[in-house]
Amino acid sequence: MTIALSIKDLRKVYGNKFEALKGISFDVQQGDFFALLGPNGAGKSTTLGIVSSLVNKTSGQVEIFGFDLEKDQAAAKRSLGVVPQEFNFNMFEKVGDIVRTQAGYYGIPVAVAKQRAETYLKKLGLWDKRDVPARMLSGGMKRRLMIARALVHEPKLLILDEPTAGVDIELRRSMWAFLKELNKAGTTIILTTHYLEEAESLCRNIAIIDHGSIVHNTSIKSLLQQLNTETFILDIRPEQALDVAFEGYSCQLEDPHTLVVQVDKNKGLNGLFKQLEAQDIEVTSMRNKSNRLEELFVAMVEKNLETSEA
């Protein structure tokens, strides 16, 4: 299978001697929906910055669809679309002009650029705003504008740096649907996000970066299999005394109506429900304490922190 992005032994040392990347390597296959996760300052943005030609690397190699970013820059850049975290368009330019101008930077003739701008602005629900200066758009619209701009040259690889940060739930869901459709149509997508629910719902493979090193690079499925316990929150009635206990389960009563239970991966919940029924306790609703990936991510980062401090 073709490799969309290949990163080999990538290092970045900033002017203040801070080593942001300590020789990371990973590949992203063509057609993948890939998440690059890590806590703030882990090296995600530096990695994406180097791939996007916005940050100079110290050493290492980056290839986009087999084109070396240093030796065959134009071909590599043509295969890549970038949606940055911060709004970086001219706020005084009109929406349509921003997208058409970006097409021009890729050498796309005016007639084709106009057609493509119309297609992508329509797809992202911004066609009505084409003659409006970008500063007049809402936060969600600005984010969609950056996606339209990144797609106008029809890249095979799209990088999104926290695409749904600060976006309301409804819009986030519609952006997820759009990205899924784009991926299904063949575009390889790499995203960074702080919403781990987003990574779990959209992505197939994942790399977790921390302190400038890749601590995990695997499929989300196999990563989730590493999760030994899961925490559930049960809303119960009638109210219970604080010393409530269930055999074989680690439980804690947060308040008289809320029971927090840690369940071993191999155990299941049936045993707990039997005990609840036997004690005439009714479960009115149940939910995960946090997203599964989030639990795993926090555990990994904490473990990595302990190792680096040791």
Binding site: S52, L54, V55, K77, E86, D97, G104, Y106, G107
Partner: protein
């Protein structure tokens, strides 16, 4: 990129630059028109009529080429320095950096944007000057070549200033403390023949003197300095500044971490 794609990218940058300064015409095209009209009225008409001849021409005739050139210089420089710095400041330079557009095309596009504004203002000032004096062109090609080369030179200067600038203060320091004094002392308002010999020598270190005098030669047929030598100086400065600007862009100075 193919030649056609390079051309499209170049034209896109130039169009964007022209769109920018025409959108804010009240800040870019109108002020030099008003300032130069005041110069024509006060220095050329009111004071000039008492000065008499300068270099064999009426004072108004003498200062018109210098004032046109002054407008071209300040507007070419001002366009690129403010546009490229804003692009850096708002981070929309990233739109260009992620694209396959080569650095020499980016630089050329910004420079032609600066030249476009410089020439647009030069044209407006020339039209205004016709209300005050008759303008005869002694040598069309010398006039055009000088104004073009000067505009390119100061667009390149503006670009280099923008690359090094970290704040809006930094883009006004050079125009205020270097460019304006050099322009005023570059023979716009007087012939250097009026100066003592020592100061004539010092004046010849000022590159703007060569541009103003070559342009004046193109219009009036009279110059304080040798025109061929002046062209050599202007072309040399252009080559040096283009090389420096391109080197800075290739290094990513001020735009890449």
């Amino acid at each position: 990129m193919s030649h056609h794609e390079l051309w499209v990218a170049f034209i896109t940058i130039v169009r964007k630059e022209i769109r920018r300064f025409t959108r804010i015409w009240a800040q870019t095209l109108l002020p030099p028109a008003i300032t130069m009209t005041l110069y024509f009225i006060i220095f050329g008409n009111l004071i000039g009529s008492r000065i008499g001849e300068m270099g064999g021409f009426s004072y108004m005739e003498f200062i018109v080429p210098g004032l046109i050139m002054m407008s071209v210089i300040t507007n070419s420089y001002g366009n690129v320095v403010s546009s490229f710095f804003s692009t850096k400041f708002q981070k929309n330079i990233e739109e260009l950096l992620v694209s396959p557009t080569p650095n020499w095309v980016i630089l050329s596009g910004y420079v032609l944007g600066g030249v476009s504004r410089g020439l647009a203002v030069g044209f407006i000032v020339t039209l205004l000057s016709l209300f005050f004096t008759k303008l005869q062109i002694h040598s069309f090609w010398v006039t055009i070549a000088t104004v073009m080369l000067t505009s390119v030179l100061f667009s390149l200067g503006g670009f280099i200033n923008a690359v090094f600038a970290n704040s809006f203060d930094d883009i006004s320091i050079i125009p205020t403390f270097i460019l304006t004094p050099l322009t005023y002392l570059g023979g716009v308002f007087y012939s250097i023949q009026l100066l003592p010999e020592f100061w004539q020598g010092v004046s010849q270190l000022n590159p703007i003197l060569y541009m103003v005098n070559t342009f004046r030669y193109g219009i009036l047929g009279s110059s304080d300095i040798n025109v061929s030598f002046a062209f050599g100086v202007i072309i040399l400065f252009n080559l040096v500044l283009f090389t420096i600007a391109l080197k800075l862009l290739n290094m990513g100075k001020g735009i890449r971490q």
